[in-house]
Symmetry: C2
Subunit: 341 residues, 2 copies
DNA sequence: TACTTTTGTTCCAACGTTTGAACAAATATA
DNA sequence: TATATTTGTTCAAACGTTGGAACAAAAGTA
C-alpha cells in the first residue's frame, strides 16, 4: 500500500498542541520535560507509527552513526566472523555497520574508502588488501580526523590502533610443533613480506628455525598471494626439488589445501612424508582428508576489540596520544596433517 | 593533524563573492550557470578540498543513496559473490551498500531490518534466513514503500521482485544425471520445505523420480539446516538403513561434505557404492576427495539482476504493478563424486 | 508579601544542501 | 525604440531534528 507520508516530530506536536522542540526533548528523555508530556508523546508517536529521521539527526549532530568496515573478502571464515562480532558490539551502541570488500585490490580499496568518507561514516575499521603498499588513502582518513582501526592486516607506518594476533609467535608455535613431530627441513609458503603480518610470520619462521638449530635454506621459502592455486603452483615446484623438505608451514589454509592436493596427486603421504600446517582454521581445514592442522586467529576476540577500540576513540577524541596495539595469542589446532605420533 | 573544519558550499561562495545557491547549482551543472562561474567554483572547491555533505543532501532530497543487503551469512561463496556484484552495479550509480548478516536467525534478521529502516536506506535486497516463517518485518518494508528485492531465498506470499535459479529444474538435472550414472535408489538431504527454494527442490526431486519410474521411499528424504554437521548426522542414519540408497542428492555443499566424510569413515566408496551430488558449487567442492559434483547457482548473474531491479524500481516508483520474477537456469558441475563412467 | 529557585515549555537558529520563484541585465525581436 | 526573451544570479524556504536562551508559571525561601 505504501503509507506514503511519514510522520515527523511536528505531527506529534500538532496532535498534542505543543511545539516540536518539546516533542524532541520528550523523546530524548530530557530532564526538564514532565513525565506526563513524555508519556503522551510516546503514546502519540506509537499511534502515528513515528520513526525518527536518522538523517536529520545526523545532519544536526554532525555524526552519522555509521561505521565503515573494509575487508579483503567476505568469503573467509575469519573475516566474516570478525564482522559478525563487530556488528554485534556496535549495533548495541546504536551504530550501523557498512561492510565493503576490497577483493585484495588496492584500487577497489581506495574506492571503498572514498565511498565511506562520502557517506560520512563516524569511523573506519579495516584490514588492508594484500596489494596495498601506498598509504595515501588511509592517511586521508586520518587527516579528516576520523577514527581508524586496523585489524589483522595492519601497517606500522600508519600509526593507528591495531588488533591482531601475534604473527611472530604463531610461527614459533608452528615450527616448534613440526620440529617436535620430527621434521628436519621445514619449508614456508608465506604471503608477501611487504605486508606486516606476513613479514612477521616469515621472521618468526627464521628465528624459530635458528632456535632449533635448523639450517635456513633459500629455496624453501616462497612468497605468494596465498590462494589455493598459489599453493598448488608452489607445491609443484617443491616436489621437484632435488631433496624435498619433510614439513611445510603455509600462511593460509587455502594455499595449504592447494599444496595438499598436489601432494596427494603425487602420492606423497601426509603427514608421514611431509607434515603440513596451515593458517586461519577455515572450516574446511577440519574436513579435508587428511584434516589440516591450522592456526586459529581469534576472530571473535579481534572483532570485539576492534569495535570497542572504535567506541573508545569516539567517546574521547581529544586523547590522541596513546595508540593501542593489541596483540593476541594465537593457538595451533593440531590435526592429522601434521600428527605423526 | 585532523584538518578540523570541513569546507562547505558557503565557504566556496564566500571566496568567490557569490551565493551558496549559485555554488550548489554550479556543482550540479545547472544549465543556467555560466561556464565561467562553474569553472571558478570547481577550482575553489578543489583548493578548499571540498567534500559535499552527503547527509545534508540526503535530508534535502529525501533519499540516502544507501541500499541495505541482508544475507544469511557472508561466509559462503555464493553470497559473497552475489554481494560483490551488487556492490559493483550500485556503486557505479552512486549508491552505497550496507551489508548485514542474519546468521540464519529470524530474530537477527528482524533487527537487521529495523536497523536498515532506521538508517533510511533507499531499498533492501535480501535473502531470507532459513528460520524465517513470519513475514511481518518484510511486510513492514513494503508498507513503507521501500523497494524490496529478494534473491535465492524468497517467498511467494510477499509478492515482491525475486531473482533466483530454477530450483525445481535443478533437481531434475541432478536426478537425470544420477539416473544416467546408474543409480537405482536416490536419497535427498534437503532444506526445510517451508522455505520456497527447498520446497521446490523437493518437488523437483519427487517429480524427477516419477519421471524415471523410480519409486519414492519415505525414509530416503530428509529435511534439515544443511550445515555440515547436519549432513553428517543424517548420513549416519542413512548408512544404518536396512538397504542403503546408491545415490544421494544434497541441497548444500556443506551438508554434502559432512555426508561424504561419514561415508569415507565407513569405507563406502564414492561414487561406486553411493554417488553424491551437492549444491552451491562452493570452492571446496572442487577440492575435496573425491571432488563433489555440485549445482552452480549463477551468483554473479543473480547479484547483477537484483541490483538492476532495484535501480529500475527506484527510477519509476509509480509502476507498482508488474512484479519481476527472474528465474535463471542452474548448471550441474559434474565431478568425481558422481561420475561412474 | 517579596524574592529566589525550580520546572516545563516555547522560541529560534542552526546543521549543509537544494530548488522554484523572483529579478536584473543582456540580448533578441518586433 | 519598445517589448519579449534569454541568461545568470540571488532570495527564501524547506528537509527534520536539536539544544541553548528566554520566559512564564509554580514552588520554595526569606
Amino acid at each position: 500500500m505504501g503509507n506514503k507520508k511519514k510522520s515527523t516530530i511536528k505531527d506529534i506536536a500538532n496532535v498534542l498542541g505543543i511545539t516540536p522542540s518539546a516533542v524532541s526533548k520528550a523523546l530524548n528523555n530530557h530532564p526538564r520535560i514532565s513525565k506526563k508530556t513524555k508519556k503522551a508523546v510516546l503514546q502519540v508517536a506509537e499511534n502515528l507509527n513515528y520513526q525518527p529521521n536518522h538523517i536529520a539527526t545526523a545532519l544536526r549532530k554532525g555524526k552519522s552513526n555509521l561505521v565503515g568496515v573494509i575487508i579483503p573478502r567476505a568469503n573467509s571464515n575469519f573475516f566474516s566472523s570478525v564482522i559478525e562480532k563487530i556488528e554485534e558490539v556496535l549495533n548495541k551502541k546504536g551504530y550501523n555497520v557498512i561492510i565493503t570488500q576490497s577483493n585484495e585490490s588496492y584500487e577497489k580499496e581506495c574506492k571503498n574508502i572514498e565511498a565511506l568518507l562520502f557517506t560520512q561514516v563516524d569511523g573506519i575499521i579495516a584490514s588492508m588488501a594484500n596489494e596495498t603498499v601506498k598509504l595515501d588513502y588511509y592517511n586521508k582518513i586520518k587527516q579528516k580526523g576520523i577514527p581508524l582501526i586496523l585489524f589483522d592486516r595492519g601497517e606500522n607506518d600508519l600509526n593507528v590502533d591495531y588488533v591482531g594476533i601475534d604473527d611472530y609467535m604463531s610461527s614459533h608455535i608452528v615450527i616448534d610443533h613440526l620440529v617436535e613431530q620430527g621434521c628436519k627441513r621445514i619449508a614456508h609458503i608465506g604471503g608477501f613480506s611487504h605486508t606486516r603480518i606476513y613479514k612477521n610470520r616469515i621472521r618468526g619462521y627464521f628465528d624459530a628455525l635458528k632456535k632449533h638449530n635448523r639450517p635456513f635454506e633459500d629455496n624453501l621459502i616462497y612468497e605468494c598471494n596465498l590462494r589455493q592455486s598459489d599453493g598448488r603452483d608452489i607445491m609443484k615446484k617443491i616436489i621437484n626439488l632435488p631433496d624435498r623438505p619433510d614439513g611445510i608451514y603455509v600462511s593460509s589454509d587455502y594455499a595449504a589445501l592447494g599444496a595438499l592436493e598436489v601432494m596427494k596427486e603425487n602420492n606423497i603421504r601426509v603427514p608421514d612424508d611431509i607434515a603440513l600446517v596451515g593458517f586461519g582454521n577455515e572450516p574446511f581445514s577440519a574436513i579435508s582428508t587428511p584434516a589440516i592442522s591450522s592456526v586459529e586467529q581469534q576472530s571473535k576476540k579481534i572483532g570485539e576489540l576492534a569495535a570497542k577500540t572504535f567506541l573508545k576513540r569516539i567517546s574521547n577524541p581529544k586523547e590522541k596520544v596513546s595508540l593501542n596495539k593489541m596483540i593476541l595469542d594465537a593457538e595451533l589446532i593440531v590435526r592429522t596433517s601434521s600428527k605423526r605420533k
